[in-house]
Amino acid sequence: MKLYLKVWRQENRESKGDMVSYVVEGISEHMSFLEMLDLLNERLIQKGERVIEFDHDCREGICGACGMMINGRAHGPLSGTTTCQLHMRSFKDGETVYIEPFRAAAFPVLRDLKIDRSGFDHIIQSGGYISASTGQAPESNSIPIAHETTEAAFDAAACIGCGACVATCKNSSAALFTSAKISHLVLLPQGKLEAADRVIKMVSQMDAEGFGHCSNTEACEVECPQEISVLHIGRMNYQYNKALILKK
């Protein structure tokens, strides 16, 4: 098949980018979306042009490195799918496809489709952990945890940190990302002790990084490749208010 691409090209953090058109022929429907970009890049090299830069690594939907806006949707048309798991059978021959980076003030573009998501690392650094140094752990079966509790914690812990939630949010809010971590840790008995301190620090870090506020459009859940629920945001708000009230 043949596609008409409009791809965001930008030299570096400071420069102004714009959309550049490419025609890509000879695409097989079995190719993944990133393999289609590989094909285009191979042809750009042959022409002596600089390749389109994009982040990617595992190409099996788990590392969270890849992610781009495809026709205005984070990770493209399918739900519950990362860009690397999207295949060309989801597109029609002759279609025009717009490819842009995940955009947010807190995610500056490095080059083309590559962005800086270190804001997410900073949010985790501010408190997204359980303080258990190596050597301190008790026997693992000494703390029974209900099956449903573990499963619920897992649902939150499944976040891959790709940033689709931020990119799709009209406020560029990182509420889904942050709340997923808060939920993961507060649901487990091991994580309850630090809960109040954690939620206050993580929420204020989220603001400090320049992410916007949540206004409950719930678009993030729709675009999340791991289908993380917006109910975690509700839990984060509850935990936050509780922590403020009980603060000594």
């Binding site: 830069e53 690594d57 190596t134 752990a137």
Partner: protein, 636 residues
């Protein structure tokens, strides 16, 4: 020449004895010592976090944009530990024995015993960090069974055990960043090791965003940079996985071992086209309920579901009745290749076998199978557009895990003093074949529990060593070499992309140094790789500049892969036996089983770099078995 430095004492006491007598550093002195950790997967993150907790200053490097994305995330099935929670006869000794046998008696007893011993504490550590391992309804931890063993010792978190362990280690690392004990350098790639007076004292790294070449000094350097299975291009590995850190250390004098021992994972999605970049792994746990078969008749073109039961060959159940579909990976992969080569393969390229759940669905019900493997079936559907509840999955062996890597002693130190190698980057514990769910274990155990003892033991002797800064001439010299290579790549203006060379090399290695090898194929491969390297040196074409440039990154990695590929062939050629993943067609029984030669090859091959284009030099570390009796590894 090479001494594994195994501690004295009974097998079960060696690690305790080591810890009792290893040298310590007092807390006030720890903050005067800097350690560089390259790689942020399970081994790197856990080691960096644990050493930081002890009070050392850590610099942590990764090429990804965040430490959390290292390829440990992709491990699906689980992590082994001899907890014996199932009361099914498991013990540290049994786990040790399964691992030694699984590795076809080509690993060190003392290392493997320590791995099994430390497995207990790892589960405790992970649970304390909040890793949501599967639990039973009573609230206790659940286990499942994996290939090559008869007990249930595998802990798992759905099909994302690696991801969850990784998040635990990553969060521990981030905690130390906020404590000011770890500084992270993401989007940085190590391009050379810097040695002063024969010891590892720093690295040269490139900032992959700005292109700047940076010098970093330290009192010790840890390489936890993962495996090099991506040398085959098509593999289960992430696109960025590479050999460059360990290869460049190798060229500075660190020996490499078990280089050609590459595990081909039996349950991967087959190649279906020429532009494919990746062979996705489907968790081995599927083999608990899926049955593997091919049509009995070669070239059978019928729709798979139309092939009647009596015309299907369940070849694993036929050849290995005791372990059946749960036979170890090397054996399962080779058996698949044997059937595919015999013309019985299925799928559009006739390069796959069936993994069939119809019997399990009939016996256990659809809901139960959905609950166990739902995410994997969804993934299969996403990639292939096929509903595997209704028709068999197509699977095929793919390059997966490298048992080989930098040679390390019991301290996990390479032959370069002060240079340590952890996790998949070292050769240590898996012998010639790794058992499922032992890789997450090894990387975690190396990082959380072993290196944090052995590195201080080494550093205790370095407190009075002269302080080395990045002004030392050794840094200038290493930096110059790195800059020259990068400039050469950018100025070549040849005809072919880095991927072209990588794909050609991968194909060549699959054919000639893959699941099976012969003297002839390996000798041919060496000649062809040399020619390919020559072509690479003249005909490479890189566009773009020194700032963000994925093609420039690839060029350095492919250059190293080409040299490594040649060493893999030398290693496979020299070892005239079949053991584990290393199957030399000349050494097999009449019914196609591997023939090991303990008389002549019961040693670790450790290779020394002798310069470009020169044949590497072999050193041998004899393997001594005091506890187990060497036996034929039978799963029949």
């Amino acid at each position: 020449m090479i001494d594994a430095k195994i501690p004295e004492g009974n097998l079960a006491d060696k690690w305790s004895n080591y810890k009792d007598s290893s040298k310590l550093i007092n807390p006030a002195n720890r903050k005067k010592l800097d350690i560089i950790v390259v790689g942020t997967g399970l081994a790197g993150s856990s080691c960096a976090a644990t050493l930081a907790e002890q009070g050392y200053n850590i610099k942590s490097f990764c090429f990804q944009d965040s430490a959390r994305r290292a390829h440990s995330v992709a491990a699906q099935g689980g992590v082994n530990a001899a907890k014996n929670y199932k009361n099914d006869g498991d013990s540290v000794y049994r786990m040790f024995y399964d691992t030694i046998k699984g590795g076809d008696f080509r690993s060190r007893e003392a290392n493997v015993y320590r791995l099994a011993e430390c497995s207990l504490a790892l589960i405790d550590q992970a649970v304390a960090q909040g890793v949501p391992f599967a639990r039973e309804y009573g609230g206790y931890l659940n286990n499942r069974s994996f290939g090559g063993v008869q007990v249930s010792r595998t802990f798992y978190a759905r099909g994302q055990t690696g991801q969850q362990l990784m998040i635990g280690a990553y969060q521990a690392l981030m905690r130390q960043v906020s404590a000011g004990k770890v500084k992270t350098y993401t989007r940085h790639e190590m391009l050379d090791l810097v040695m002063v007076d024969g010891k590892a004292r720093g690295i040269i790294a490139r900032n992959l965003e700005t292109g700047e070449i940076e010098r970093h000094s330290a009192n010790a350097v840890v390489l936890a940079t993962g495996g090099y299975g991506k040398v085959y291009y098509l593999s289960t590995l992430a696109m960025g996985c590479n050999t460059s850190a360990i290869w460049r250390a190798h060229k500075k004098g660190a020996l490499m071992s078990g280089v050609s021992w590459i595990q081909f994972h039996p349950t991967c999605l087959p190649q279906i086209g020429e532009t494919q970049s990746k062979l996705t792994l489907m968790s081995e746990s599927l083999r608990n309920d899926g049955r593997i078969w091919v049509p009995k008749k070669a070239g059978d073109d019928r729709v798979l579901n139309d092939i009647p039961e009596e015309e299907r060959d369940y070849y694993l159940e036929r050849r290995y009745p005791t372990f059946g579909n749960l036979s170890p990976r090397d054996i399962s992969s080779r058996a698949a290749k044997e059937r595919i080569d015999a013309g019985c393969g299925v799928g559009p390229m006739k390069n796959a076998v069936c993994l069939d759940f119809s019997k399990a669905i009939k016996e256990q019900g659809l809901t139960k199978i959905e609950e166990k493997y739902g995410n994997l079936f969804r993934m299969y559907d996403k990639i292939n557009g096929v509903d595997a509840y209704k028709e068999p999955m197509l699977i095929s062996p793919a390059a997966h895990f490298t048992m080989g890597g930098l040679w390390v002693d019991y301290n996990l130190m390479t032959t370069i003093p002060g240079l340590f190698a952890l996790g998949e980057a070292n050769f240590s514990d898996h012998g010639a074949n790794r058992l499922g769910a032992n890789s997450l274990l090894q990387s975690c155990v190396d990082g959380y529990f072993i290196a944090p003892y052995t590195i201080p033991n080494y550093l205790s002797g370095e407190l009075k060593a002269e302080k080395v800064t990045t002004d030392h001439p050794a840094f200038a010299e290493a930096e110059k070499v790195v800059r020259e290579q990068l400039e050469r790549f950018l100025n070549l203006k040849g005809r072919f992309s880095a991927d072209h060379f990588h794909k050609t090399l991968g194909k060549l290695l699959y054919d000639k140094c893959g699941l099976s090898r012969t003297k002839e194929s390996l000798e041919q491969a060496i000649v062809e790789i040399k020619a390919l390297k020559k072509s690479f040196d003249h005909e490479l074409k890189i566009t773009g500049d020194e700032q963000v440039n994925s093609e420039l990154e690839k060029a350095g990695r492919v250059s190293d892969f080409l040299e490594l590929g040649e060493l893999m062939c030398y290693d496979a050629l020299q070892r005239e036996e079949s053991c584990g993943a290393h199957f030399r067609e000349e050494y097999q029984t009449a019914d196609g089983e591997a023939v090991r030669n303990d008389e002549d090859f019961c040693y670790v091959s450790a290779w020394e770099w002798k310069g470009e284009g020169k044949q590497p030099e072999l050193h041998k570390e004899p393997l001594v078995f005091d506890t187990v009796k060497l036996s034929v590894r039978s799963y029949k």
